[in-house]
Amino acid sequence: MTFLWWKFIHLAGVFGFLLSHGISAGASLRLRRERDPARVLALADLSQASITWLYGSMVGLLAGGVIAGFKIHAWGQGWIWVSLAVFLAVTASMYPLASNYYRKVRFVAKAMADGSTAVSQEQFASLLRSSRPFILAGLGFGSLGFILYLMVLKPF
């Protein structure tokens, strides 16, 4: 396959990644304003529903990008290595940051929806007001912006 086709696969993967991850990002930010456990669970389900597309897009994004890089002999340059390293590092750090927090949100919301009184509405609200979604969004947007800079400007 030519370089253009691999570039197409890479960009299609990026498009799918942003679309599916955007669903999760939007749901996580919306969660901060919810207080009804059932609605919180529904938003969490919406976020989970995009996971399969996210992983599939990441495969296309990485495979297309790595091979396209070989096609244009880019692996001798620093920008592609740094881009890959940043992407992998951010993915590795975001996963525990996000999954631990949202696992707890889902667990508490499910228990409250089932009638548990162990957690008060104030405690639940405090949990949902966490700055974690902003941290994740900042990490995600920041890293993607940096990778975009590297890929367009190829500074080194």
């Binding site: 969490a44 389900d45 989970q48 529903a49 996971i51 399969t52 992983y55 707890k104 889902r106 667990f107 508490v108 228990a111 548990s116 009184t117 162990a118 957690v119 405690q123 949990l127």
Partner: protein
């Protein structure tokens, strides 16, 4: 929980006598038969082994406990494990100092090997001060809300019913999650045993040990997750509790179970030969087995005893007890597994 057969190993020592009293006490309350085992060929001669089991059997009969004796030529731990397996024992009772020479403040070689290799529950009796053991009146059980911990908690309450003991359930970790886990543990407990809860933070093994010392409980109950395989070298919570506890410890078999370990109305991941299946035994005793692999991304599902469902810990998919998917992101049911029970 029913202990039909309890295996007890003895070398006739004073510390063995302490563990022996605990074994007979448990057997008496559970109406179980005790198989008394003594191993010779190492430090113990055959004559001494036979004398040890005869003396123990005599005491058992005086207490009205059903008893059989076995004298085996083998290393002590292997003898106990072999007899427990062939007798289909529900529990093994060993002393914390083991049989023969043992280091102070450490589990001896025998109880440690038994605890890590047992095919059933293991009661490790604290024989450090060779005291006359008291009946078990209070128990402490640790939970983290996981399916195996929930199973251990359930068994602890069932044992408490048999022994007429009070139970304290302890959770070490996030306060919000812990409050819910403890609420569920009390709400779902079988029987009417008196129950209290403790919520702590920090290192689980340390907090459990401290709580046991502070409250003066007679028995700590933990599941056996992490007692075998590579995790035992990483210092799993039950392994550390077994080694550091200031009192008796019951290690309940919650991992590596077989089909016959599933009680009616309960499910879990069980091992059949070289494969694992997700099994649920309904209230009528009929077994339903499905694949334990979530059809979304292949994670191993967990049994949710409250809802009688299979839950995927990775992305939240849920399946009914018969494998029918009820909640995504999975779209396909868990495949049925062919198992046959004799």
């Amino acid at each position: 929980m029913s202990y039909r057969t309890i295996v007890f190993g003895t070398d006739g020592s004073d510390t063995a006598a302490v563990a022996q009293a605990a074994a007979f006490g448990l057997a008496s309350r559970a109406d179980a038969e005790v198989v008394i085992v003594s191993a010779f060929g190492g430090t113990l001669a055959r004559d001494a082994a036979e004398a040890a089991v005869a003396a123990a059997a005599s005491l058992a009969e005086q207490r009205g406990v059903k008893v059989r004796t076995l004298v085996v030529e083998a290393p002590a731990a292997e003898a106990i494990l072999h007899v427990a397996s062939t007798e289909d024992a529900g529990a093994i009772v060993v002393g914390s100092r083991g049989m023969g020479p043992a280091r102070r403040l450490h589990l001896g070689d025998v109880p440690d090997r038994v605890a890590h290799g047992a095919p059933c529950d293991v009661l490790i009796v604290d024989t450090s001060d060779e005291r006359k053991p008291a009946p078990i009146r209070t128990m402490l059980v640790g939970t983290d809300g996981s399916p195996t911990a929930t199973e251990a908690t359930r068994k602890a309450f069932e044992l408490a019913e048999i022994l007429r003991a009070a139970v304290t359930v302890i959770y070490v970790g996030d306060p919000m999650v812990g409050a819910i886990v403890l609420e569920q543990a009390i709400k779902d407990r079988p029987g009417e045993a008196r129950a209290e809860t403790l919520l702590e933070q920090g290192d689980p093994a340390d907090r459990i040990r401290e709580a046991a010392a502070r409250t003066g409980v007679d028995l700590i109950v933990v599941g056996n997750k992490g007692m075998a395989g590579a995790r035992r070298f990483l210092g799993s919570v039950p392994d550390r509790v077994a080694h550091e506890a200031p009192t008796d410890v019951l290690i309940v078999k919650t991992v590596g179970r077989a089909l016959e370990d599933l009680a009616p109305g309960h499910g879990g991941i069980v091992t059949i030969g070289s494969r694992t299946v997700a099994g649920y035994r309904d209230e009528q005793g009929v077994l339903h087995a499905v694949s334990p692999r979530c059809t979304h991304m292949g994670c191993t599902v967990d049994w949710n005893d409250r809802e009688k469902t299979w839950d995927c810990p990775c992305h939240g998919s849920r399946y009914r007890w018969d494998g029918a998917v009820t909640h995504g992101p999975a779209k396909r049911d868990l495949a049925p597994e062919d198992v046959s029970e004799s």
